[in-house]
Symmetry: C2
Subunit: 505 residues, 2 copies
């Protein structure tokens, strides 16, 4: 794999100048074309032997391309905000929009490379990390984020020689880091780690390029050439989906609109106060201050999502939650993968994020209204299960409520909204239009319940024709979940990608 | 001022129920109207005596309004990211979009209230804090962010009684904080601080409401009523501009397109390398790791902004800067005050933010193309001076470059772009169109140079007909500024608003 790079090839000076002139024009041409089309984000993952000159190569790329549209995304030690979220959060959070280019230092390969560098690496762990990476990159590719990966390499002798040369000159000595010096000693392990990482994550839609790095011109030309190859490619049309997350799907919960019993106002109010008190209490527990909660509300129009949410928030300190009403994504959000806007709203520890409609829009409204192609919404089930598994593995509880309302009860509520002074604002033409697609929505929600009710994040189907019973059921579920957080074990069997605490790698 | 509130008025239960029913309907009506119109953001500033039940009142507001569109913005101790930016950054950063409501705990009144609570408050300091607040709120009002301020108040006796009552009941004892207990002892000072703050910052466009808080119903009704009054108001049309920042304007720098001398290629390259080396060196200084740099580039199309930026970034570690190309704001950005998108991009310590075009768009393109009314772009000069003063007071250096190119040289460059294979992408129809408005742009830029070349952030006018000389001048200015950072004193005479490090207040 590295045999060519380890011959430390040297490009002739004159030839390099000629190649450079040509490469620069084409890099700019394709960069501007991409900007105009705004169909794809390009992410360049930077990895390789420490001290191979990764930084210089990327600096150069910034000079050859228009740097106003190239973003360097450098990730080091986790900061506090990052440490409270799933490992992938930091990458999602800084994803450039379509048309632009990001260069990633300290990427999601950190955990895999760290394990692969150990004296006795754990094969199963490495395979798991690789699967997580492969699923992530396949999802990105399908969503218009192209990933190319550069491995900067040279022979051990050339590495030694380069480090010594830099150290000798006081003007360049600062360029040599401790990691570079360590790389000499651990060269064979780094090399093996590279081999493992490349072998396990090489995909047609996310290729690796090995960049011979002993010679400055050679490294520059190869880097620019790899990026140019990536830029020249049209958006990937056939993504090889990677092994999906081995999810334990539960049987779809039973749907019933009418609750088994009705309940009087007095009993309702007493019970409401009871569950609100338990929620308030549980929120103040020590255990919860180190985890977080995500609540998802889905259901037909007028199923009672808003009312249920208000009964929960009444029990909470206003500083402890955020409510995210979800409607069609705006242009800003559409320039990223559809899960992006939800990743950005994940709560820190001790907080609750409440989603009034959610990422399930992709398999509900987008499916029914044909805003997404069948291939797109069909792959979403796996993507969503994977997303929620990452939340759970991070200690974030995910509670999903499907509020089941009957067609007759919905009609009654629409009519009530038409006449009530403070409900009329809630009713729009869309609501009536959606009602005509009742069966299509029913089918879509049924598939959703079947494909995404998982062991780690099950759906709660709430009979919603009676608002009081529905609210009590939901409050009970929230209270119980919060109270169980103490002994709560991440339910998913696949460990999260190890959070990286090392320096840039 | 507090005499009514200190009678601790009590609203009759039945009357309260009746008022509540009416208030809730109208709150919701106006909330939805505001959402539909999306013309104004409402910010509710929460202040008052600790232990007056501010939290409960706001909780209730969340129940009475649709909480999906009400955001609680609670600010406590500064975190690391906030500590590196000007004091107002945290508030800018979390500003809700138009149509929505934000409730602010721990607001920009913290510093003023803290000073006013001291045994011997510094009158001049308080006046300065009040001026900063007043300028900020006037600017917000002019930009469609309505601010209303609630002061929760009760008599000292009622405060004592309320605290003791809560403490006695184990179910409510947790509601009493240390600040609440301290408030008993320091009641008179808190009261005086409130008086000072209210007197100095009461404005027609940013009113204070005093909320009698001894009785739960009374507090609830008054809170809802104050918010309703605010919601009922149409967007403010006549804002009383507050005392502008006392800025030392420098004489507008002289504009000359042709540099005094031309320079050969060899000399240019040697000098370029020299200044790049000095910049690289200065960036690694200890002093710079505790400050940051903002570079602003303005100038006619083809003046050479991009080329100059590339010569700077070539000297920098790619991880140490961000380039922000600025064009027309998108819908997401238009739903906030125009400075918002720039506040969000302020660099942390040790970093450089490079703006290729900037907030000066308001007084250049928006003025010339009539995208802003005369009143709007005229007030922008003060707003911009104020913004930059806050940056400087925070230790962020602001370097502004106006690249002056002649009309003839611009034409030559346009033609060159038409024919060059890797420049043709840079030329658009807009460029030709803007050229027809040469004189209008010239007038606008002249006013800009006269009104915003300040002692704390002067404009550098760069003769740009010769690209080499222009780049060298710019690099020299950047290097000199970075090197002088060591002894750099915040140049502006008005101190920044004191950064708040206390708990929620």
């Amino acid at each position: 794999m590295f045999s060519h790079a380890e011959t430390d090839p040297v490009i002739d000076k004159d030839e390099a100048r000629e190649l450079e002139a040509d490469l620069r024009i084409r890099l700019l041409q394709h960069q501007y074309r991409r900007l105009q089309q705004a169909e794809q984000t390009l992410l360049i993952v930077v990895a390789g032997i420490d001290g191979a000159g990764k930084g210089s190569a990327i600096n150069l790329l910034n000079t050859w391309m228009d740097p106003r549209h190239v973003h360097t995304l450098a990730f080091g030690k986790l900061n506090k905000r990052e440490a409270m979220r799933p490992a992938m959060w930091r990458y999602w959070n800084s994803l450039p929009p379509k048309g632009q280019t990001g260069i990633v230092f300290g990427s999601w390969y950190g955990a895999l490379l760290a394990e692969a560098q150990r004296k006795h690496p754990d094969t199963e762990k490495m395979a798991q990390y690789a699967r997580i990476i492969n699923r992530f990159e396949a999802m990105l590719a399908a969503e218009g984020v192209q990933v190319v990966k550069l491995w900067f390499h040279l022979s051990r002798e050339a590495h030694k020689e380069r480090t010594e040369r830099l150290l000798q000159n006081p003007e360049t000595a600062w360029r040599v880091s401790r990691a570079d010096l360590k790389a000499q000693k651990r060269f064979h392990r780094l090399r093996r780690a590279g081999e493992i990482a490349i072998t396990q994550t090489l995909r047609p839609h996310a290729p690796w390029y090995i960049i011979p790095s002993a010679n400055d011109d050679t490294r520059a030309i190869h880097t620019a050439d790899a990026v140019l190859q990536a830029l020249e490619q049209p958006p990937a049309t056939r993504i090889v989906a990677d092994t999906p997350l081995p999810v334990q799907c539960l049987p779809a919960p039973e749907r019933r609109a009418a609750p088994p019993e009705r309940i009087g106002k007095d009993v309702y109010e007493a019970q409401l106060a009871h569950w609100q008190g338990r929620i308030a209490q549980a929120m103040r527990s020590r255990a919860f201050s180190e985890r977080s909660l995500v609540l998802v509300f889905e259901g037909q129009d007028a199923a009672g999502k808003g009312g249920a949410i208000r009964r929960i928030t009444a029990a909470l300190d206003v500083r402890s939650f955020d409510i995210h009403p979800v409607s069609a994504p705006n242009a800003y959000e559409r320039s990223r993968p559809y899960l992006w806007r939800f990743w950005r709203k994940l709560p820190p520890h001790g907080k609750i994020a409440i989603f009034d409609r959610s990422w399930y829009g992709r398999v509900l409204v987008e499916r029914v209204e044909r805003l997404a192609t069948p291939a797109t919404w069909q792959r979403a089930y796996d993507e969503i299960n994977d997303f929620e598994a990452q939340l759970c593995a991070n200690g974030t509880q995910v509670l999903k409520f499907w509020l089941e309302v009957s067609k007759a009860e919905q009609l009654r509520r629409f009519k009530e909204r038409e006449t009530s002074p403070f409900k009329s604002f809630k009713l729009t033409q869309d609501d009536w239009r959606n009602r005509t697609k009742w069966n299509a929505y029913r089918n879509a929600s049924q598939s959703m319940l079947e494909r995404t009710s998982t062991h780690h994040a099950p759906w709660h189907c709430i009979p919603a024709d009676d608002k009081r019973m529905a609210r009590l059921k939901i409050l009970e579920a929230v209270a119980t979940a919060l109270e169980s957080a103490d002994g709560h074990e991440p339910a998913h069997q696949e460990p999260p990608i190890q959070k990286q605490t090392s320096e840039f790698s």
